[in-house]
């Protein structure tokens, strides 16, 4: 028996400038079914859903709702067609109750005074038809009074005194009960858990009569119990005839809840299959496709020794859940460690936690500073620190004898340091947890971080290239003035060596194209000769040439014995460039594989694996 079609997409194409987000996508969703839309980052699933919900408008193709062609130009249009989308980032007013948020902006039926007047007049005519004169006056008076009261009734309705009248509260509770939501409608949003907020968003959409619901990564922020409850609710909705589209990357959930699965890859629709008739392996293959040979060089790591040890690191997210959950791994100097995973699974928090920008809940970040047999300098250690460390046996003389500074005069110690006579006995081992970026720098640890947000974090968009070079180094020197000479030289070097296209070194960086912005940012981070270089999505949005330039830069750093962490979304790149690949899923390490031997399907499976 064929179920009626709720929504159908035909040949949908959407382009943003050069990037083709969706190409000739065909999709059908039936009434009373749950469809999962599966795909990696950048496969176009969010763009596609945004077109159904009215945030974008397709460049080509048509959308049909219940068989009729429709134009969805805004979220309000989508409402009219009974389509409701629940986004990953909730749109709720914190200080309001759940009920207030649900009824906010609801279009009240228009109460027309003229219509009502007509009706009353008709009634009056009827009554007056066969009645004596004296009675007529009485009747007329009665009806006139009714007509007179109309404007006030309209005013009252317009303001809807007591908007949470018994009717409203009842209606909302009915919806909640019908689908099995457990929610206290009079609770304030800021008091709610993420799962409760999500429930409010779903009821909001149902209250407006949505028949087609789109959920964007709904389980990303839920606990296993909450996921189970959500799925129960979704099943009830399906039984009542609603169509539900879930954007997800979690294969086990796809298998559990959906009736059919649509797989997208690089903007195209690969296939839609019945969940019953497929398995995780097959879906992964469709999701990641065949391996593409990228021709990226991968020099062998030379003498890799541990540089950074992450031990049982846990970082909490804003909503109180665990963004990074008990993560442990080691990265060696002179290697590139790739971090693969669907974005939003803790990569951002992990890197920011290591860099000191995020508070860590528990665990250690152990840094091995390769200082063995290197002289200590006043550049990053004070006299006091050196004396302390000497006491603890950190140093030895070039001839091997242990350094003992007790009883020495200040001038003598200074002479020894300046003549490079005091050497580290071993690599310095420092725990970076709970340290701010400034503290890390002051310890002499050179850790560079190329963040995902280039213009709002890594750089200041309105400042010139030269001034952006200053960001890390402006504190140097005792003068109260900022020294722009060295940064200018650095800027010019970067512009020259990395072929940055810019009118001058004084141009504000926001005027540069994406690739050039990234060259400036990466150039600066590399210029400080880091021991650890972390880069989050460094080639996202970059053209081919700039991307390869970045790969070369990373390889150069690798050969200088830098430990490089590369968070990326393109599996082909990761497999070609990285020596080892760590896969992260839901904040946990699901596996570490060798780059040379990694299989794309294997990585895909690891990316979507969640613990039961």
């Amino acid at each position: 028996m064929k179920k009626p079609v709720a929504i159908e997409l035909k040949n949908i194409t959407k382009t943003f400038g050069e990037v083709v987000a969706n190409k000739n996508v065909n999709l059908t969703v039936y009434r009373g079914e749950i469809l999962s839309v599966l795909g990696e980052n950048g496969c176009g699933k969010t763009t596609l859903m945004n077109m159904i919900s009215g945030i974008y408008f397709p460049d080509e193709g048509e959308i049909f709702v219940n068989g009729e062609p429709v134009m969805i130009r805004s979220p309000k249009d989508a409402f009219a067609y009974k389509i409701g989308m629940i986004h990953q980032h909730f749109k709720l007013v914190d200080v309001f109750t759940a009920a207030d948020n649900i009824i906010l902006g609801e279009k009240m039926p228009v109460y027309s005074v003229t219509e009502e007047t007509k009706k009353i007049k008709e009634k009056m005519e009827k009554e007056l038809a066969d009645v004596s004169d004296e009675k007529k006056k009485k009747i007329q008076a009665k009806y006139l009074a009714k007509i007179g009261a109309l404007p006030f009734i309209k005013l009252g309705k317009a303001f809807k005194f007591g908007h949470l009248t018994k009717n409203r509260a009842k209606v909302l509770q009915q919806i909640a009960d019908q689908y099995g939501f457990e929610i206290d409608l009079s609770k304030k949003i800021y008091d709610m858990s993420v799962s409760e907020k999500q429930t409010v968003e779903i009821i909001k959409v149902l209250y407006r009569g949505a028949d087609i619901l789109i959920l964007d990564e709904p389980t990303a922020v839920l606990t296993p119990q909450e996921i189970k409850k959500l799925f129960d609710v979704l099943r009830k909705m399906r039984e009542s005839g609603k169509s539900i589209i879930i954007i997800t990357h979690k294969l086990n959930e796809v298998m559990e809840i959906s009736d059919r699965v649509a797989v997208l890859r690089k903007g195209e629709h690969i296939a839609t299959v019945e969940t019953k008739k497929t398995n995780e392996k097959e879906l992964t293959e469709m999701m990641v496709g065949k391996k593409i040979d990228l021709n990226i060089e991968r020099p062998e790591p030379v003498d890799p020794k541990p540089r950074l040890e992450i031990k049982n690191l846990t970082i909490m997210n804003k909503e109180g859940g665990k963004a990074v959950d008990d993560v442990s791994f080691v990265i060696n100097g002179g290697e590139i460690l790739g971090i693969a995973g669907i974005s939003g699974n803790g990569q951002k928090e992990l890197l920011e936690g290591i860099a000191g920008l995020q508070k860590t809940e528990s665990g250690d970040i152990i840094f091995h500073n390769p200082k063995k047999n290197k002289p200590v300098t006043f550049f990053h250690k004070t006299l006091k620190q050196i004396k302390e460390m000497a006491k603890q046996g950190f140093f030895h003389y070039p001839d091997g004898k242990k350094v003992d500074l007790t009883g020495m005069k200040k001038k003598e110690i200074e002479k020894l340091v300046n003549e490079e006579q005091i050497l580290f006995y071993e690599d310095e081992i420092i725990d970076l947890k709970h340290k701010t970026p400034l503290e890390i720098r002051e310890l002499g640890i050179k850790l560079s971080f190329v963040p995902e947000d280039r213009l709002n974090m890594g750089l200041v968009g309105n400042m010139s290239i030269v001034d952006n070079m200053l960001l890390k180094s402006y504190r140097k020197g005792k003068s109260i003035f900022v020294n722009r000479k060295k940064p200018k030289i650095l800027a010019d070097e970067i512009i020259d060596e990395l072929e940055v296209v810019t009118p001058s070194d004084m141009t504000p960086v926001r005027k540069l194209s994406g690739g050039n912005v990234q060259k400036v940012l990466v150039g600066r981070e590399i210029s400080s000769s880091p021991k650890v270089l972390m880069a989050a999505y460094p080639v996202r949005g970059l053209d081919i040439n700039s991307s390869y330039l970045i790969y070369n830069l990373l390889n150069q750093q690798k050969q200088k014995n830098v430990a490089v962490i590369f968070v990326g979304e393109d599996l082909d790149v990761l497999m070609a460039l990285c020596d080892r690949i760590l896969v992260i899923c839901s904040g946990r390490v699901s596996g570490i594989v060798e780059g040379k031997k990694a299989k794309k399907e294997e990585l895909g499976l690891l990316m979507t694996k969640t613990e039961e």
Partner: protein, 380 residues
């Protein structure tokens, strides 16, 4: 498909990514001209002399040597306070308490004269006044900053209220000092800044010029100034490079306070030689406009301060010549002029596009025209 196409909105507003310098100046000058025309029009209603308006405007500012000195003195005061505000504004800390901060500076200076005038040498007195003014203003400025840093208390409202506490404080002190109950302190005989070339205001102007230069170098070339820029542009980036934003807020307000203190000192020791609740006269508020209109550029503020004072003195002259009435007239003229200049910033930041009937024709953005029509609307 076309029949179903909804109508494009009549007017489209897009945020501009960039605008060439000359264009933005054309818009500003255009707005200034429109403002002047409107002012002349308004004055014409009462004076029946349109052209004369402009002549008297200039006359009021440059007519006599005395007026020119007044012009530069008033510009100096206004500019000085605006400079004091600038570091805070650059950091997006909306300090609207300059009126009160300057006022307590005046009060502290006057207090020094009241208690020690005549008992210590004049030079020492002046130095003491300066130090006390600066301390008082810093205290007034830093209290809201601390609360903002610790508890995220709204700084706009806090600094606003502090203004009125300051005014009451001044009246309080005067009522204690002036036992006669007249409520007027009267000219103090000590603590006068020296005249240069027999002009009382010369020194004031020199001090403010120095302040302006200092602030320019401080903001552009010092490490503090760099941090202020970064915090103001992007707090994310500031945190990324390890700037402790709360510390910077407090430090910057201390700087603001120091300069307000200097201005308070200039007002008491170099201009009025007394103190009263209205001594700052609203210039603390006007300075906010002066700073904002110049996009927080110290040299730009010289221009905006000049414009404001020019209009004020000019309007006063127009008022006197045509005997239009109470001095409130100047406020109307300055108000109209400033509203035009403020409004034109919109056209610099945003682009207005009109709906086209034919989809193929490219919409021509008529900026000048919209400026005029919008301002004509609002002045109707």
């Amino acid at each position: 498909m076309n029949e179903k196409m909804k109508k494009e909105p009549l007017v489209h507003i897009i945020k501009r990514a960039d605008i060439p310098q000359w264009k933005s100046w054309v818009i500003r000058i255009g707005a200034g001209v429109i403002g002047l025309l409107l002012c002349a029009g308004f004055s014409c209603i009462f004076s029946k002399d349109f052209g004369g308006f402009f002549a008297e405007l200039f006359n009021g500012a440059f007519g006599t040597e005395r007026r020119i000195w007044m012009l530069f003195q008033n510009i100096a005061i206004l500019l000085g306070i605006a400079i004091a505000l600038t570091p805070a504004f650059k950091m997006h800390f909306w300090n609207i308490g300059a009126e009160g901060q300057t006022l307590v500076g005046c009060l502290a200076g006057a207090a020094c004269v009241f208690y020690w005038g005549g008992e210590i040498p004049e030079g020492a007195l002046l130095v003491l006044m300066l130090v006390c003014s600066m301390i008082a203003s810093v205290i007034w400025a830093v209290i809201p900053a601390i609360f903002k840093a610790l508890f995220n208390t709204n700084e706009t409202l806090f600094t606003l209220m502090m203004n009125y506490v300051a005014a009451a404080l001044v009246s309080l002190c005067i009522s204690i000092w002036v036992t006669s109950g007249s409520g007027v302190l009267g000219i103090l005989n000590f603590g006068h800044l020296p005249k240069i070339m027999n002009q009382q205001y010369f020194l004031n102007i020199i001090i403010v010029v120095l302040i302006t230069l200092f602030m320019f170098f401080y903001l552009r070339y010092s490490k503090h100034g760099y941090e202020i820029s970064v915090v103001g542009e992007s707090t994310n980036t500031a945190k990324y490079i390890g700037i402790y934003v709360k510390k910077v807020i407090i430090r910057t307000m201390i700087v603001s306070g120091l300069f307000c203190g200097i201005m308070g000192w200039i007002l008491v020791a170099g201009t009025n030689f007394t103190v009263y609740a209205d001594i700052v006269g609203g210039r603390g508020f006007t300075a906010i406009l002066v700073s904002w209109l110049a996009h927080f550029n110290p040299f730009g503020m010289i221009l905006t301060a000049f414009l404001v004072v020019f209009m004020q003195q000019g309007a006063a002259q127009v008022n006197t010549v045509y005997q239009l009435g109470p001095s409130a007239f100047e406020n109307i003229i300055v108000g109209i002029f400033l509203l035009c200049i403020i409004a034109c910033e919109f056209f610099i930041n945003y682009q207005v596009k009109f709906r086209v009937k034919n989809k193929n024709a490219t919409p021509e953005k008529k900026e000048k025209k919209t400026t005029e029509s919008a301002e004509r609307e609002e002045k109707a």
